[in-house]
């Protein structure tokens, strides 16, 4: 009992992989405090100037604003569409159901470059000018499958007769949805929204074809990666955003679990 127990090779392997996964991120954060413009070793000295300059770079802030608005809009639409689709899929049988499910799952498995260029052609053909809005339309497409998944698995978890009970008590079906289903699946709705938001916020491949002259943050970042002098600023911005998105993810995971636990084993 008192013997020193060596960790299993699997444990060591896990922590090694975890360390490697975090390494590039830690590296970026370290560089955001480095006073040299060049991102090379050895480090020069500690500085906060990049963070101070951050708030004076109007282009960068504009790109962040664009990304937030685009992320907010596309996630809202994706969550609403995802919720409608999920309710239909979980609660009803309807003709063409499997067709709908395959169509909704497809964006998950098609390379983004193809989605990007096909929308580019279509927008060009119908004369829709390229902007953050057109990129947002595309982000809804890639977000809907995730929203469906998250909201659907929540709906499976609670029994349908709650809706029926509400209807017995005099609600119409739509009132029951609004007053019973919606509140119960609220944690899943928020989780879906956050997941969609992070997808849109980080999406580069599609946006690079569609944003026109309104760069989102990833598109702006990419344009700056060519200019060495602009890099530290970009890296410090990224450090802030990484921290923010980690918080968002942990929060959404927490909400998702919160929503899932009570009826986890209930039959659909």
């Amino acid at each position: 009992m008192g013997r020193l127990r060596l960790p299993s090779p699997f444990t060591l392997y896990y922590w090694l992989v975890a360390a490697i996964l975090f390494l590039p991120i830690i590296l970026l954060i370290i560089f955001s405090f480095n006073s040299s413009i060049q991102l090379v070793f050895p480090l020069k000295g500690f500085t906060l100037k990049w963070y101070q300059q951050l708030f004076k770079s109007t282009e960068l802030l504009e790109a962040v604003r664009t990304s937030i608005l685009l992320g907010f809009g596309s996630s809202l639409v994706a969550t609403i569409l995802g919720a409608m689709g999920a309710i239909a899929m979980v609660r009803f049988d309807f003709p063409g159901k499997s067709l709908f499910v395959s169509m909704a799952a497809m964006p998950l498995v098609i390379p983004y470059v193809i989605l990007g260029v096909s929308l580019l052609i279509m927008f060009h053909q119908v004369g829709l000018p390229l902007s953050a809005f057109s990129a947002g339309l595309a982000h809804v497409v890639v977000s809907v499958p995730y929203a469906l998944l998250v909201i659907g698995s929540r709906l499976v978890g609670f029994p349908q007769n709650l809706e029926e009970a509400a209807m017995d008590l005099g609600c119409t079906y739509w009132e029951a949805l609004l007053r019973v289903t919606l509140p119960i699946s609220f944690p899943a709705l928020v989780a879906a929204f956050l997941i969609c938001f992070t997808i849109s916020f980080d999406e580069f491949a599609i946006a690079s074809f569609l944003v026109g002259t309104q760069p989102t943050l990833p598109v702006y970042l990419y344009s700056q990666l060519r200019f060495p002098t602009r890099l530290p600023l970009v890296v410090s911005m990224a450090s802030i955003l990484m921290t923010a998105s980690m918080i968002a993810i942990v929060l959404s995971e927490w909400l998702r679990r919160l929503g899932e636990t009570p009826h986890r084993r209930a039959k659909p």
């Binding site: 070793f41 983004y112 096909s118 929308l119 595309a138 079906y173 580069f204 998105s245």
Partner: protein
């Protein structure tokens, strides 16, 4: 009947949205692939020239083949690296497994571009790897050993995919009934034998799903080759991007995209046929 109209109201808007902004653009692209590859009046005509060019020019096939190989390598190595990770989480980590799984997912939710860019810092001539090797005395002069090469693309993308590949393997291992393993042991299986004959076969759906998760986006990848690949590391996705951004030969780009789309659909078909994990959206 009431139910049917309710379902129609609910499914209508998302279905319509996806038809208009997902299916329709792919259809328009298919039509566009028969257009003449010039701008102006002539571009109104239809032709098979793009297809003829695509099938005759072997450099396209070579690049497609090479990208396929790169993507297969990346996915296979990612599975090999992710499997022990998932195995550890499910069978050894115990109560902490969800927390530890979340821990390795966290880095993937940070900016994709910057994670790739960070690898430039690691692999570059004054980067982490070089400084380390210099310090150890393995090399005498700093050089971008791995940067701007196919190897850099492979390393970086394996880094990107390992956590995503671990997820479905984790899920499939979790679903295995522990009683089966006990039964195998009772019947005289050694641990390794039990793994090979019970655990591994039962986790194959997760392995295949993880493999596809990595394979398909990697086939279309163009960002990572742009950042760390250099000339030698460029992939088929770069060729497509080039046609739309620089060469402005959209019809030719459409042919290339369609070729990739068909390839991907074939892969998915094979994957569904393999009889595993038959639904992508599983409830």
């Amino acid at each position: 009947m009431e139910n049917r109209s309710r379902a129609a109201y609910l499914v209508g808007p998302p279905a319509l949205y996806l038809l208009l902004l997902f299916v329709l653009p792919l259809g328009i692209m298919a039509v566009f692939s028969f257009r003449v590859g010039t701008i102006g009046e002539a571009s109104r005509h239809f032709t098979l020239d793009n297809y003829i060019e695509f099938f005759q020019n072997t450099s396209y096939h070579r690049l497609l083949w090479r990208s396929g190989l790169i993507a297969f390598t990346i996915s296979a190595v990612s599975v090999l690296l992710a499997y022990p990770l998932a195995y550890f989480l499910v069978f050894i980590a115990g109560e902490r497994r969800v927390t530890l799984m979340t821990l390795i997912i966290i880095p993937t939710w940070t900016s994709y571009l910057l994670r790739i860019f960070a690898w430039k810092l690691i692999l570059g001539s004054q980067g982490l790897l070089n400084s380390l090797l210099l310090w150890l005395g393995v090399i005498e002069k700093a050089s971008p050993i791995l940067l701007y090469s196919r190897a850099a693309v492979v390393i970086t993308l394996i880094y990107v995919w390992v956590p995503f590949v671990a997820l479905p393997i984790f899920a499939s291992l979790e679903r295995i009934d522990r009683n089966l393993l006990e039964a195998a042991a009772d019947l005289g299986c050694k641990p390794l034998e039990a793994f090979l004959r019970v655990t591994l076969p039962l986790s194959l759906p997760g392995v295949i799903a993880g493999f596809m998760f990595a394979l398909i986006p990697t086939l279309g990848e163009f960002v990572t080759p742009l950042l760390v690949g250099g000339g030698q590391g460029s992939m088929y996705g770069n060729l497509i991007q080039d046609q739309f951004v620089r060469a402005l030969n959209w019809p030719m780009g459409s042919v290339m995209s369609l070729a990739m789309l068909i390839l991907v659909l074939l892969l998915i078909f094979v994957f569904l046929r393999a009889g595993t994990s038959t639904r992508l959206l599983e409830f």
